[in-house]
Amino acid sequence: MRPSRTMTGRVAVALATLALVAAACGAAGTSPTATSQPTLGPTEIPTLAPTDVPPDQVTGTLSVLDWTGYDAEWAWQDFKNTYKNAKVTFAFGDSDAEQYGQMKAGGTFDVFHPYTGWLQFYVDEGLAAEIDTTKLKNWDKVPDSFKKIGQINGKQYFVPWDWGFTSILYRTDKITTPVDSWSILFDPKYKGHLSMWDDGPGAVTVSSYVHGYNETAITADQLASIKAEWTAQATLNKAYWTAETDLVQMMSSGEAWAAYAWQGAYATLLGKGVPVAYATPKEGRNSWVGVYGIRKDSPNYDLALKFLDAKLGLLTGQNLVANYYYGSANGDVMKGITDPTLKQAFSVDDPSILTKTNFTPNLTAAQRDAWTAMWTEVKASQ
């Protein structure tokens, strides 16, 4: 009985060919190193104090745990331009929880990039080093409200970098009366056309805005009523979104009329000509802030500080705004925005907006566990 020659002999050859070609592609040169993003404007050269090493002589390798996309050179342009002989390597996590996990599992990164709500854990678990802000030349460009975000137990552990709003994004052609409250997410009138972010603490935040709870001191009773509220809301929800692209797609196709959204989605849809508006609810918008921290016992503390300082640079901040529609912690960057779409998205022309904004507080581990479990149970009971 001769083994079958018809089919897979050929497939074997095909596969082998593919293998050879791919290996050849892999072995052939490295990809071009040119940056793909346009640069906008001059680099800020930090002024040297007498005891500083000249930038060209700064060497060493920095290991950064970050979100995908931030390894692109535009995201650390100032550091790259200034410290030409220092190297940076990146590792990635897809969410705060994953990055926290990587740090907890023993990762030896020097710098990491968490967001508000997660900062307490790093300090409690001894994973964050105190930041010596006297060595940050750009520190005075950061507004005080942002500086405070990076403080835990009164000490500065984090340097704020990127920020954004969360509010209600809605189609003005489907919802004709202006939206003025977070409670629209619970409005039965829009059944099947609402979309909430798939996040338990986010849900608790919305509920506490609507009912006036103290976000940092949610009682067990309040949590139970929040759970009931969102269980009921789930029937009004079209779908939960996890990535901004999902939300943008749902809104532009008209499946979602009102949603919990970051202003990146707002700016994207505005730019596409979709009729949308970004509410300023009477309870206030929410704001989240991304910060950079240095791992405790990192051997590259000084280099890490330079990296953080350069992150606050003008060019880097401008690139951030232009590429991801996120705000920069550098106040000069925000004041220099000229694009009308972006100005509208950031409410740049409304200086009182920050007073009407609630910043995400830091959670304790127990709170986070309770709130995420609550949310999981809401989803599981559908």
Binding site: M1, S4, T6, M7, T8, G9, R10, V11, A14, D94, S95, D96, A97, E98, Y100, G101, K104, A105, G106, F121, D124, E125, G192, D198, D199, G200, A234, T235, N237, K238, A239, Y240, T242, T245, Q249, S253, G254, E255, A365, R368, D369, T372, A373, W375, T376, E377, K379, A380, S381, Q382
Partner: protein, 297 residues
């Protein structure tokens, strides 16, 4: 007929050295990179929380399991996931069978080409393909646009997407080409002359299928069924993309606890439960469909 049991690997077996050679690499890989991590996961499920040194000593607790057992939603989700997985596996295997049959007996010289055609889409990102599918199924999508334009409906259908049905359809769609592979491998060992012999004995084509092909291909079918069923119980990507609010599955829960909540102990406990449940179902299933009976001729 010789069966697989004819040569026990005892000291008299001349294949003894080959046996050890064949066993060592898989055993080492599995022990180091599978058993060890799974044990680690089980250990973590007894932790009260994530604080402190992960590899250090801690006071074991049943807290996570208590929480898992207390939450009615978790059990409901597990049950629904298992049923969904059963349905998906059955449908996918059934729909894949004609494809495998076609490739094995009808495609002739072009079979390799067709197999390639079948599998190449899977080298496109799954995520992007499902996004494209959502473009087809969504309220503003292609299907609805065509139906509205042709006057068949007056309002866009919103039931095509973001529900459990969409999850099942998508999962079946994804699994069919994969399920075809073990079936194909099983069909390949059927001697075509058996069909001729059956025809010589005046068996109609359908009888040939029922009496010759199907029974002989059963190991491949069973392999395909389990290959689809087992991972689908813990599936999370598809429900995330097309399930909407009501289409969430057990895998989403576990995924959430690892990637959104950093609550590894509870996530591990839920995983251990799912593992045990799936293993149990497989053992029961194998009792019902005894493979050894299938092999005896």
């Amino acid at each position: 007929m010789a069966s697989a049991d004819s040569r026990p690997a005892d000291t008299a077996d001349p294949r003894r050295r080959s046996f050890r050679f064949l066993l060592s690499p898989p055993a080492v890989v599995l022990a180091l990179f599978l058993i060890l991590p799974v044990l680690l996961m089980v250990v973590v499920s007894f932790r009260p929380d994530l604080s402190g040194n992960l590899l250090g000593a801690f006071a074991p607790t049943l807290k996570q399991y208590q929480q898992a057992f207390a939450g009615a939603g978790y059990w409901r989700s597990l049950g629904i996931s298992a049923l969904t997985a059963l349905g998906v596996a059955a449908i996918a295997t059934t729909l894949a069978y004609p494809i495998a049959y076609f490739l094995a007996f009808r495609a002739g010289k072009r079979a390799a080409l067709y197999l390639i055609l079948l599998l190449v889409p899977f080298w496109t990102s799954y995520l992007l393909r499902v996004m494209a599918w959502k473009v087809m199924l969504g309220e503003g999508g292609v299907i609805n646009s065509v139906l509205l334009w042709s006057g068949a409906i007056s309002q866009p259908l919103d039931a095509l997407l973001y529900n459990r049905g969409a999850v099942i359809v998508t999962l079946v769609y994804v699994w069919i080409p994969f399920a075809a592979l073990p079936i194909l491998a099983g069909l390949g060992r059927i001697d075509i002359r058996l069909h001729d012999a059956a025809a010589d004995l005046y068996a109609s084509p359908w009888q040939q299928l029922r009496r010759v092909t199907l029974p002989l291909s059963l190991p491949g079918v069973v392999a395909a069924f389990f290959m689809v069923f087992i991972p689908t119980v813990g599936e999370y990507v598809t429900p995330l993309l097309v399930g909407g609010t009501g289409g969430s599955m057990y895998g989403n829960i576990i995924q959430d606890f690892f990637t959104r909540a950093a609550n590894w102990p509870l996530g591990s406990a839920l995983s251990v439960i799912m593992l045990s449940a799936t293993l149990g179902l497989v053992v029961v299933g194998l009792r019902i469909v005894d493979p050894r009976r299938l092999l005896a001729r």
